[in-house]
Symmetry: C2
Subunit: 304 residues, 2 copies
């Protein structure tokens, strides 16, 4: 049994008030699979890169036990590249460059040994490509988590609504929940979205934490207040990866396990922002993660 | 022993997307004392109104066991009046009218029987007036909570900094914490503010809950996600009143009791926004409050 993570594997160049990077490895599937690897050891990536993506870059993933057989390498082409500059408050950013490159006509390949997929994380991509992946799995996974963004609501809403019908969990941010539902109240937004397909909705609120909804219950996960946010890139993907990785580890899907998965996802995301790119999450110890989760417990526990 | 609450007692006229009111009773001390009255029965108000403030308006406070001997009634003058219109998202509002009236030269009187003050809530007012109240108490209260706002940071920062040295707890919102400290990170902002006088800082984040800081610890209280926010007026004052009322009831000041006080304050505030003005918080039962607090427990509890 395995956890398949599909999404971009890419290069980023990032500027923050604290400094700037050259091209470094990024992409939703990179962040999510690294995060998930701390919980589960049968992780398989589906993605595409150009021949500028080095064997040493792939080795980093393999060293985390991540299977990259589904990562296509297109000779003579270039990897997806994004460059952005964060403002002083780190909550807003300007995209400087987006080069789709190999991602422009990405046709995901599911290797035969990926057909044991039990957990599927559909990272932010064209909804059509996300659908294609579900269609190419012979058996419907036990849990499908979909990440998407406002961009697809703007230009591919019909496709997105079709994809939504096929998944169990949707992760979006608060503005996107409002856009998708047409409701300002997140409670009303969640009620509407939960009629569109997903059984669970996660609304990510950045520095304000995240909300988990099912039809009956709501859980509010805090974000760890941080003295320094060094680079927010990939925090959402890291959160999603930690979330599904934890669920794959515990193996039972229910609201209580989802709550814990949110906390583990948030803990991983809180590491992610401490350094540029994947620098921090590529090298965590179990002890660091356990300590961080204890900080979340202390942050939000009270006894009435 | 008593809890003194000083602040505006006023009339408001409120417009929201759900409707509008005529002049209704409002004011920081009104909301805070009503909220506190559900926890503690020795509450005394210090404030000033004009002769337009009716005996029936005062009776509402007295019926909650609130002592109004310190509420001056200025004959021939008018009560403070504020009118505002909320936008569709309820997070922003336009002030339409502010008439200071009796509040313009408010000189707080502390009746002799108020000198047993153990808990003092300084509602949002000129920092000089807040200082005056502290100065007129013969014994320093066990706990002084100060509420203030960006307006005083803009026009009376020196006075505010003086007042800050005299208090134990400061409640402000996140933008105000950033303004007061010059730090964007709320962790850094809190560290700075905790050197200015208060031992505890509460950062109110509206629909995102509230953070409590002391020198060592952080607690994150969630806000209850609500389907309808009918009228946000007074929610912050209601929160502060519930907070200090709960602490007065338990009688011991420590971080754990403060955490619970935040939850009770948040619960009261979640009622406040359900109807116009004080309509909802004037008439709560213990059972309603207990049930609401249980919703907060369920909202934020997890077992890792």
């Amino acid at each position: 049994m395995s956890l398949i993570i599909i999404g971009s594997v890419a290069f980023d160049a990032i500027e923050t008030p604290f400094g700037k990077t050259d091209k470094i490895v990024g992409g939703a599937a990179t962040y999510a699979s690294l995060a998930a690897s701390y919980f589960y050891d049968q992780i398989k990536i589906v993605g595409v890169v150009g021949d500028d993506f080095l064997q040493s870059n792939i080795k980093v993933l393999n060293d985390h036990g991540i299977d990259t057989e589904g990562l296509q390498i297109k000779q003579g082409e270039k990897s997806f590249f994004w460059s952005g500059r964060y403002h002083n408050d780190m909550n807003s950013r300007d995209t400087l460059v987006t080069e789709l490159n190999v991602l422009g006509d990405f046709d995901p390949i599911i290797p035969e040994n990926y057909q044991d997929c039990e957990y599927l994380m559909l990272g932010n991509l064209t909804p059509k490509v996300q659908q294609t992946v579900i269609g190419r799995l012979k058996n419907r996974p036990k849990l499908i988590v979909l990440d998407t963004m406002n961009f697809w609501m703007d230009i591919a809403l019909e496709d997105l609504l079709e994809t939504l019908k096929m998944v169990d969990v949707l992760t979006i941010n608060d503005a996107e929940a409002r856009q998708l539902s047409g409701e300002y109240s997140l409670v009303k937004a969640a009620r509407k979205i939960l009629t569109m397909g997903p059984r669970y909705l996660i609304i990510k609120k950045g520095e304000h934490g995240a909300l988990l909804f099912d039809e009956q219950q709501i859980f509010s996960a805090p974000a760890l207040p941080l003295a320094e946010v060094f680079d927010p890139t990939g925090a959402g993907d890291t959160f999603a990866g930690g979330f599904i990785g934890y669920l794959a580890k515990v193996g039972t899907i229910n609201f209580n396990n989802m709550k814990n998965a949110l906390i583990y996802g948030s803990a991983l995301a809180s590491f992610c922002v401490e350094k540029f790119g994947t620098e921090k999450i590529v090298n965590l110890t179990k002890e660091e993660i356990d300590n961080r989760v204890r900080e979340f417990v202390s942050l939000s526990s009270f006894t009435i």
